[in-house]
Amino acid sequence: MPLNLPVLDRPTTSRDRPVVALVGNPNAGKTTLFNALTGLRASTANYAGTTIEKRVGSMGLSQGRAEIIDLPGLYGLTAGTVEERLARDVLMGAHTEHKPSAALVVVDATNLARNLYLTGQVRELGLPMVVALNMMDLVESQGLRMDVAALERELGAPVVPVSARSGKGLAELRSALEATMQSSGMGEVPEPLRGCSACGGCPHAARYAWAEDVHDKVLRGQVALSASATERIDRWLTHPLLGLLAFAAIMAGMFISIFWLADWPMGWIEDGIAALQAWVGARMAEGDLRSFVVDGVIGGVGSVLVFLPQICILFLLICLLEDTGYLARAALVMDKLMRRVGLPGRAFVPMLSAHACAIPAIMATRVIEDRRDRLVAILVIPLLTCSARLPVYAMVTALLFAGQPVLGALVFCAAYVLGATAALVTAWMLKKTLLPGQSAPFLMELPTYKMPSLRTALLTVLDRGVIFLKNAGTVILVISMVLWAMSTYPKMPEDRLADYATPEVMAQVRALQAQLADADEATAEELSAELDAIHGSYAMRYSMAGRIGAALEPVFAPLGFDWRINVGVVSSFAARETLVSTLAIVYAADADAADEPQRLRDTLHEKRRDDGTAAFSVPTSLSLLVFFVLAMQCLPTQVVTRRETGSWKWALFQIGYMTVLAYTAALITYQAASQLV
C-alpha cells in the first residue's frame, strides 16, 4: 500500500461489494437496526490496533449484497474521544481501502434535535447518505406528526421512516440505500447547514441552533403525557433513598433469577458431558490415551461449557435492563457511592457483569471513557465473585454447615460481600497510591423508558457467548490438558506405595488384597475400586502435581493447607472449578463422589490427614474459602487484561496483588479461627 494505513484483520471487500457505514447516537436503536438488516450474518472483530469493537455484517439488496459496518454509538464527530476519531476515520476511508459507499445515519425520531447534531456533521462530509428515522411508531403514538419531506429538504438527503424493532420501513430503506449509492452524488449541502462550520464562534452552538430550528420546523404537535411517564418513574427510581432500595431489589431479583433459571441447563450440560465421557470411555481401550481424551479433553471442555448458562442468562438480563433504559439510572444512583472509592458510576454495569464472568466484564469497561477510571475498574473486577467460584463456595459451605441451610446461605452471601468489599477497598487504595485522581464527573444521557427488545438481547447474548467460548474456552482447554498430564505423570509403580502411604493405610491395603484373593466377582469389583482409589490418591502424590503440592507445604502450612489441598489450589490457578474434582481424587474419594455434593462432603468431612488431624477442620475450611474468594485463578483473565490495557505490566500487577491479598487474608482467617474454635 502506498500509504501507511492500519490494516484490517479481515480482508476488505472488493470493489463490487458496496460498504455501508452505520452511524448514530447511542440509544437510537442502531444495533436493533443492524440486526434487522443483517440477521445472523454478522461477526465481531476489533479495529486494528485498538480495543474498539467492530461489528460487520452482510445485508441483502435487490441486486447482490452489501457489507455494513456498525460504528460505535456517538454523539458527535468532533474527535474528542477515541470512538469519535475512529468513526470519522472510517467515514473518510482510512480503515478500508476506500470510503464507504454510503453512510446510513440512524436518528431517534423521539429525540430529533439531539440526533440532528451528528446527522448534520455526517452530511457535511459529503458522502452519499441516507437517514433512517427510527422509532417513528413511538412518535406517532405520542400524537406527533413528522413532516418527512421537509426534513429531507433541510438535510438534502433521503429520509426513510422505520421502526427497527418491528421491521417496518426496512424494504424502503434498502431501496433508498441502493438508489443513493447508484446516483452520481449528494449534491450541495443545504445552505443553513453549511453555514454552521463557517461560523466563527463555537461551531457546536451554530449546529445546535440549526438542529433545534429544523426540529421546530419539522415536528408538529405536543408530546402526549406518556413522555413524562419517564419523568414520573424517574422521580422514584432516582430518589436518593428509594432509588437505592429499588436498585437493591432489582439486583437481588436479577441474581436470584439467574441461579434459579441456570440450574436446569447446567444440569443438562453436566449430564451430557458425563454421558459423552461414558460413551467414549466404553469404546476406547483402557490406558493413558483414554484417560487423556475422557478426563483431559472432554472434562476440560465440559468445565467451560457448564458456565455458559449462567453467563448467558446474566447477559440476557443485563441487555434487557439496558434496553429499557434503567441501567443509566442505576449508574446515576450508584455514582455518588462509587466515586468515594474512585470509581465512576459508569463502571457499575461492567462490575455487575463480572458476577457471571470477569472476561466479558473487562471488555465491557470500554464504556468508561476516562483512562484512569477504566484501569482501576479492570484491576479490581476479578475480585468480584464469578460463576466459577460457586462450586468451591458450595463445597466449603457444605463442609462447614451441612444440615444448617440458613447458616450455609449466610456464608455464601458473606463470600459475595467479601469479594465486592475487597473490590471497593482496593479501588480506594489504588486511588490513594498508584493511580491517584478523581473519577471523571458523571455525565450520561438518560434515555426514555421503553419496552426492551428480546430479539436484540438474544443476538447480543449469542455474540457474547461465542466470545467467551473463544477467549476462555481455548485457554482453559489447553490448561486442562496440561494439568491432566501433570497429575498423571510420573506414574507411581505399585511397589512404591509403601514409600508414601502411612502404616495404617498399608495395613488397610494388605487387608483388602487378602480379601480380594478369595472374594466372589461382585465383591471383587468393589474391593478393586477401593484399592484403586487409595492407589490413585498416592499416585497423585507421586505425580508432578503432587510433588509441587508437597514442595509448597511450608508456604501454605500457615493457612492450614496440607499437600493435598495444595494440589487442588495449584491446579485451580488454571481453572477455579477444578478444585472440587481434584480434591475428590486426591482424597481418594469415590470416583463418582465428585458429582454428588452431599456424598463428597460426607467423604471429605471424614477424611484425616497423614498425621491424624481432620483434613477439613473449620479453620482450614474458612481459610480455603477466603483464599478462593480473593485469589486470581483464571489465566484467561490475564490475557484479556493485557489486551485491554495494552501491556503485560498491569496484568502481572493484577495477579500479583491479588495473590498477596488472598494469601494474607487466608492466613489471618486461619490463625484467628484456630484461636477461636
Binding site: E231, D335, P441
Partner: protein
C-alpha cells in the same frame, strides 16, 4: 470570592448569571458560559450543553437531571457548578417537545 484564577484570562462570572446547580427544579435557563477544563468542556458540548442552548432542571440532587435539546441528561454537581446560565420565564421555553 472569585473562582480560582489559574487560566490566563480571568473571567468574572457575569453578575446576572447563576451556576446551573443553583437552579430550582422545573426552571428553565439559557446557557451563557462554561468554565470547564478542556476535556470536560468537550464532553458537555457534545451532549448539548453549549452556549445559547435552553436547559431545564428536571430534578435536583447529585447527580442532577436536566433537559437539553429534548433529551434527559444526568450530570454531577461538580460539572453543573461550571455551567453559568441566565434564567428565563417558564412559559415560552422548554415545552415538553423542545
Amino acid at each position: 470570592m472569585s473562582s480560582s484564577a489559574t487560566t490566563l484570562n480571568v473571567v468574572q462570572p457575569s453578575p446576572d448569571t447563576f451556576s446551573l446547580d443553583t437552579l430550582a427544579s422545573g426552571h428553565c435557563a439559557i446557557v451563557c458560559e462554561i468554565d470547564a477544563s478542556n476535556g470536560d468542556l468537550q464532553r458537555l458540548q457534545v451532549m448539548g450543553v453549549c452556549v445559547g442552548r435552553r436547559i431545564a432542571v428536571v430534578k435536583r440532587g447529585d447527580p442532577m437531571i436536566v433537559r437539553v435539546l429534548g433529551a434527559r441528561l444526568g450530570l454531577s454537581l461538580e460539572l453543573a457548578r461550571q455551567v453559568r446560565v441566565t434564567p428565563v420565564d417558564r412559559k415560552p421555553c422548554c415545552q415538553s417537545h423542545a
